[in-house]
């Protein structure tokens, strides 16, 4: 059977899909995935999941939480100065960047 493989590059990082392996069970899937997906790039951890247990939804099927104006969720909509607190300013900066990338997609 097929197993989807997810690789964690550094401790504390997210596991990212990196391919698959064919194996009869989870133990062998882990053994194979370590070599196939962990030997050439820095790897801190690997997950394997049966391919038919990985379910998906994508942009063709959903608007991922909204298509009408939801700018009330974004710090950038609010016309007050956030510089009194670095953490608030940082959050705004990150949201501005994400909004920019959202605009591009």
């Amino acid at each position: 059977m097929r197993w989807e493989v997810f690789r964690q590059e550094e401790e504390g990082g997210y596991h990212t899909h990196c391919g698959d392996v064919h194996a009869p069970d989870a133990e062998m899937a882990k053994l194979f995935a370590q070599i196939q997906h962990g030997r050439r790039k820095p790897t801190h951890g690997i997950w394997v999941a049966p391919a038919d247990e990985v379910y998906s939804v994508d942009a063709d099927e959903t608007v991922f939480g909204g298509s009408t104006d939801k700018s009330y969720r974004w710090a950038t909509a609010y016309n007050v100065d956030a510089s009194h607190a670095q953490e608030v300013a940082d959050s705004e900066a990150e949201q501005r960047e994400a909004e920019g990338r959202r605009g591009e997609s």
Binding site: M1, H22, D25, R40
Partner: protein
């Protein structure tokens, strides 16, 4: 989607498994990627005896790793092809074993001595890398994605090949002579790696219109010659007189006289009818069959341990 929409939307990584693509696209992409995956295996098969013969531990390690990488690439590529929904990985592997699976011309020829290894590891892999770099813009996203990983891993293959060549080229007179002989034997085959100029290839137009093919055979060949002729000359190799290749000062490009190459042999290879290539296919098929019992054992194990589930269809 219909074919016209595909042509209109085709661009780098434009299509992925969530798209409902017409059969013509899916078959063309499958054919291309399957050829690539088969070539990884048959290239690895051609090189594997040189793991044993390597004249130093480090060379042995490098060859083992290179061959291993190639099997890894095959694994990725069969998956990228399988996602098109035309053939499964098992079907493609069976076709390769039966002799209907097609693969690169160069891997139909025998390689018997160490001095030949740079022909594959430097020149052929160099040509492949050039092509693979362009395929990062394939319209089939899984293939483009696989190319990211392949290109990441493959840099060492070409450098390893060059290093072996450098060593021979700066070695004894006998080593230099054998390197030159190997080069003369392989050079026409390497040029033919790129196929005939596109008016002779039946698949080109469609493939480029749908974003599967990013450069013409001619463009790729020219790019290769531009980079690799100077390299060959740097190591003191004499470029054979045939095929006639002329350098155009103005355009900075190399032109090849196609009639100087044996296209009959090339097309016989393309049908898996060339004798030495059949030998490679058949011996590998025998090895593949000899371990079928293991695959069957694993399938049996899997079926019996999936608790409560009906036997799963083979992957």
């Amino acid at each position: 989607m219909d074919i016209d929409e595909v042509k209109a939307q085709a661009g780098p990584r434009a299509f992925d498994p969530s798209d409902d693509l017409p059969e013509e696209y899916r078959k063309a992409a499958t054919r291309m990627i399957q050829f690539h995956a088969n070539s990884e295996i048959m290239g690895a098969y051609l090189e594997r005896p040189f793991i044993r013969q390597a004249p130093s531990i480090d060379r042995k390690l490098a060859f083992s790793a290179k061959v291993q990488d190639e099997i890894g690439h095959a694994q990725l590529l069969y998956r990228a092809a399988e996602l098109l929904g035309v053939k499964t990985r098992d079907e493609m592997l069976d076709e390769l074993a039966e002799g209907t699976g097609k693969f690169l011309n160069c891997f139909h020829y025998p390689m018997t001595e160490w001095a030949e290894t740079p022909m594959i590891a430097f020149f052929v892999d160099g040509a492949a890398m050039r092509r693979q770099a362009t395929l990062k813009r394939s319209s089939w996203e899984p293939y483009a994605h696989a190319m990211d990983k392949v290109c990441f891993e493959e840099g060492f293959h070409v450098k390893h090949g060059e290093d072996i060549m450098r060593e021979l080229a700066t070695g004894s007179k006998a080593e230099q002579r054998r390197l030159q002989e190997a080069f003369e034997e392989w050079w026409p085959r390497i040029i033919q790696f790129f196929g005939p100029t596109d008016d002779k290839s039946k698949h080109h137009d469609f493939s480029s219109q749908v974003g599967l093919k990013l450069m013409t055979n001619d463009q790729l060949r020219t790019a290769f010659l531009n980079s690799y002729i100077p390299k060959a000359e740097k190591y003191g190799l004499e470029i054979p007189d045939e095929p006639r290749i002329t350098y155009d000062e103005e355009t900075g490009r190399y032109e090849v006289v196609e009639e100087d190459l044996d296209w009959d042999e090339f097309f016989s290879i393309a049908k898996n009818e060339f004798e030495p290539g059949r030998g490679q296919i058949d011996t590998r098929a025998a090895a593949h069959d000899a371990v079928k019992w293991v695959r069957d054992a694993l399938d049996g194990y899997e079926t019996s341990t999936r608790s409560g589930a009906a036997p799963q269809a083979a992957d």
